[in-house]
């Protein structure tokens, strides 16, 4: 019995990633898009037309990563103009900063100035989150679980998911927010002691994504309560989530001018 356990342990070795910021994802990973302009207007129009989620605007050309489902089709049609880089640092405190334009800086602007001042003070050393899935396809949900696993071990920073909203400081919403979950989400959110934070994880949570036009959604909730963090992805990679929360709390910094140095 003991021998078999030791064998498992020996093969398991040390799994956790000591420096989460030092990880480089493979080149195939589709993270922040880089757009090299100018894009001929005919091509731009075609890209706008084929985009399955309406993330692309032809004139002036832009790609909204809050809508994008990272299918890579535009980059395959216009490889000389659009590349999805392996930069997984996709989140922002400002919805508008998720829109990438031609020849934009080599980073999504986090807009730390938009973060409510109480967040650093109250949650900087410990943050407990209640996850609510409202139409999520279980991919982002599994990645949020993975951010706590033996590899990423996010709870080393005092950040955890908890079962009860009474124990939580905020909600992480996944999924496009279905009509059938709208009431439960609002009850859960309001059960969290104020001040509470709201995080949208995944492109479907940020904008509705593929389901944005579905009559089965009910996204009024997002008009009534302030959103603190937008995290694009399909699904959100654990490193994208960790980077987003750590930047929100002020532990990581991501400003375009710092990236350029």
């Amino acid at each position: 019995m003991l021998v078999s356990k030791l064998k498992v342990l020996r093969s398991h070795g040390k799994q956790f990633i000591p420096d989460l910021q030092g990880v480089k994802l493979p080149d195939t990973f589709r993270g922040r898009p880089r757009i090299t302009g100018p894009i001929p207007s005919e091509l731009a129009g075609e890209l706008e037309r084929i985009c399955p989620v309406g993330a692309i605007t032809a004139e002036p050309f832009s790609l909204d990563t809050g809508r994008c489902v990272f299918c890579n089709e535009c980059a395959m049609r216009a490889p000389q103009h659009i590349v999805f880089t392996s930069d997984y640092r996709l989140s922002s405190a400002d919805r508008d900063a998720l829109v990438v334009r031609e020849n934009a800086p080599e980073a999504i602007d986090f807009r730390a100035d938009k973060v409510r001042t109480c967040i650093h003070r109250l949650f900087g050393r410990a943050l407990k989150l209640r996850e609510v899935s409202a139409g999520g396809d279980n991919a982002t949900e599994m990645e949020l679980n993975a951010s706590m696993n033996v590899n990423f071990d996010f709870s080393r920073f005092g950040i955890d998911f908890v079962a009860s909203p009474r124990h939580a400081d905020g909600v992480v919403l996944t999924g496009p927010l279905t009509e059938n979950m709208a009431r439960a989400l609002e009850i859960c959110y309001n059960s969290i002691p104020a001040p509470r934070i709201l995080i949208l994880a995944g492109s479907d949570a940020v904008s509705g994504g593929l389901f944005a036009d579905s009559p089965a959604l009910q996204r009024d909730f997002l008009d009534r309560y302030p959103v603190d963090l937008y995290i694009p992805g399909n699904p959100v990679h654990p490193l994208t989530f960790i980077d987003g929360i750590m930047t929100l709390l002020g532990h990581y910094r991501r400003e375009p001018w710092l990236q350029a140095q």
């Binding site: 990973f29 990272f70 991919a139 579905s214």
Partner: protein, 516 residues
């Protein structure tokens, strides 16, 4: 052969289709009277080789057409027939659920979506509260939960939001002390209108992505079902390379989720060594998929007509090496798990779904196989490399308990690893590469096509209909969870409520796949 001839005669009103063909012209679709449909289904379902793969309504100019696909596991055939609701003047139909409970999900959906009444249905409750349900007054807030009177009994409600990071669903337990007497599962919270969005768009890339998102942990399986379906409608069979690559992706998906579920089961009983070892192994597998196509869930990999991500020589070496690493380490985990009495004590004889129950509720996939019911599309209705390069013999277990469902996973991880190696060996012999995806080839007009895949949960069935202009005008999806949720509800009867989490994990069913 004798049996086949017998059923050919019994089902002579139905159209038998070779599942490798999977397409018929709509004017060949037999239209039966309801009494005929009822009699034929009632009779053929008495043979356990038969099960209803899909049964659904579509709106046509004359009204609502009910289309039924019956799969015959013995001959590998699929039988097809239809019935125009109300054609014989009847408004209320005799329910088949009363005789064959497996049909409850289909009849409930027809009632919910079209207001079709089934007489004598024992359980005709709303299925998912679809946004376009026939009766908008039906509200989730007044779901007619089954109730039992009695001083010794109490009810426990769990959900829709659960303790962990999982999807929402409402579980209502009736307990006698700590013992579960009855569990009823109410779903629908995840309903996103997938089928409606599929038929409302002509953008086939968008349709592909919608299918990839039916259930994120089955992105490859549902994506492949969609790709196969439009390729059949377009008479554009996938090349062998493409078929091989899709099968590799499907088996990688199966390995990854089985590892995750094994880890989750270990976690729920406090067996941390098994949990962390499986988490690490799953990471290896999904990172392999990420190295291949840029996404840990395989999103982006499956596209109609071709692929943007050929499995290059370098990737083949990576996959082979990682499979060997997982095989070696998972064998050690399995040894330790099977050697730990305290682990087995929690899993054995817990949450039993008997073979009879599994058959009656129409269980599919790994849950069926764990109850000694051989349902596996890779064996019964093989496609692509299955049935040819890979002659699949399903992993089976007989106990129907949590441990049996775990043993299916342990066996299938190893089996799928060997399949991946076989598939790559064959790939090495073919010099061609897959073509690039094609979203624009024309589809046959006025046709019906279906596709079946064995995802890691079980049988996935997609059915698509085109109009006279060759436009996809109706799309019907079936995730294996649709059948198996009732299996979970039955399996927990008599168990302590504290064992519910491991029973639930042992099935690991999809909420969004059910709710669509």
């Amino acid at each position: 052969m004798g049996m086949n001839a017998h059923w050919d005669k019994t089902m002579n009103r139905w159209l038998k289709i070779d599942p490798r063909e999977g397409r018929v012209s709509l004017n060949e679709l037999p239209r039966l009277a309801y009494a005929e449909l009822y009699d034929d289904l009632n009779r053929c379902l008495q043979d356990e080789n038969f099960h209803v793969a899909s049964y659904f309504g579509v709106t046509v100019p004359e009204g609502v057409l009910l289309i039924c696909l019956v799969a015959d596991d013995a001959s590998g055939g699929v039988w097809l027939a239809s019935y125009l609701y109300g054609e014989g003047g009847e408004r209320i139909l005799p329910s088949l659920t009363a005789v064959h409970p497996a049909l409850h999900v289909f009849e409930r959906e027809m009632t919910e979506n079209f207001g079709i009444c089934f007489a004598d249905s024992p359980w005709n409750k709303p299925l998912r509260y679809a946004h376009d349900r026939a009766d908008r007054r039906q509200s989730m807030n007044c779901y007619p939960f089954y109730a039992i009177e009695g001083e010794a009994l109490h009810e426990v409600n769990v959900g829709p939001i659960h303790a962990g990071i999982i999807e929402p669903g409402c579980f209502r337990f009736i307990c006698n002390g700590e013992q579960i007497v009855h569990l009823e599962i109410m779903l629908g919270y995840q309903h996103r209108g997938v089928e409606r969005l599929l038929r409302e768009t002509d953008n086939r890339l968008r349709q592909t992505l919608l299918c990839e998102s039916v259930a994120g942990d089955s992105a490859v399986a549902h994506g492949s079902a969609y790709a196969m379906l439009v390729e059949r409608l377009g008479q554009r069979p996938a090349s062998e390379v493409l078929e091989l690559e899709r099968a590799i992706a499907l088996e990688l998906e199966r390995i990854a989720v089985h590892l995750a579920d094994t880890g989750a089961l270990c976690m729920d009983i406090g067996y941390q060594l098994g949990q962390v070892a499986c988490e690490a192994l799953r990471t290896i597998v999904i990172n392999t998929t990420q190295a291949w196509c840029g996404n840990r869930f395989g999103k982006g990999l499956i596209r109609p007509g071709g692929s943007f991500y050929p499995l290059t020589d370098g990737l083949r070496t990576l996959v082979r090496n990682n499979m060997e690493e997982v095989r070696r380490r998972f064998a050690e985990v399995t040894d330790d798990l099977l050697d730990s009495a305290s682990v087995l004590a929690r899993f054995e004889d817990c949450g039993v779904l008997t073979r009879t129950q599994a058959l009656r509720i129409g269980a599919v996939g790994e849950a069926a196989r764990a109850s000694d019911l051989k349902r596996d599309v890779r064996a019964s209705h093989p496609w692509g490399p299955y049935g040819a390069l890979i002659v699949h013999e399903p992993v089976m277990a007989a106990g129907g308990d949590v441990f049996s469902r775990l043993k299916i996973r342990l066996g299938e991880v190893m089996q799928s690893i060997s399949y991946v190696n076989t598939l790559i060996d064959r790939l090495d012999e073919i010099p061609e590469k897959s073509p690039r995806p094609d979203y624009t080839f024309p589809l046959a007009p006025s046709a019906l096509a279906f596709s079946m895949q064995e995802g890691w949960r079980g049988e996935i069935v997609h059915v698509g209909l085109t109009d006279a202009g060759g436009r996809l005008c109706a799309y019907k999806l079936k995730d294996p969870s649709l059948h198996n949720w009732l299996g979970l509800a039955l399996a927990v009867r008599g168990e302590g409520i504290s064992d519910f989490p491991i029973c639930n994990k042992s099935f690991n069913l999809s909420y969004c796949g059910h709710d669509l």
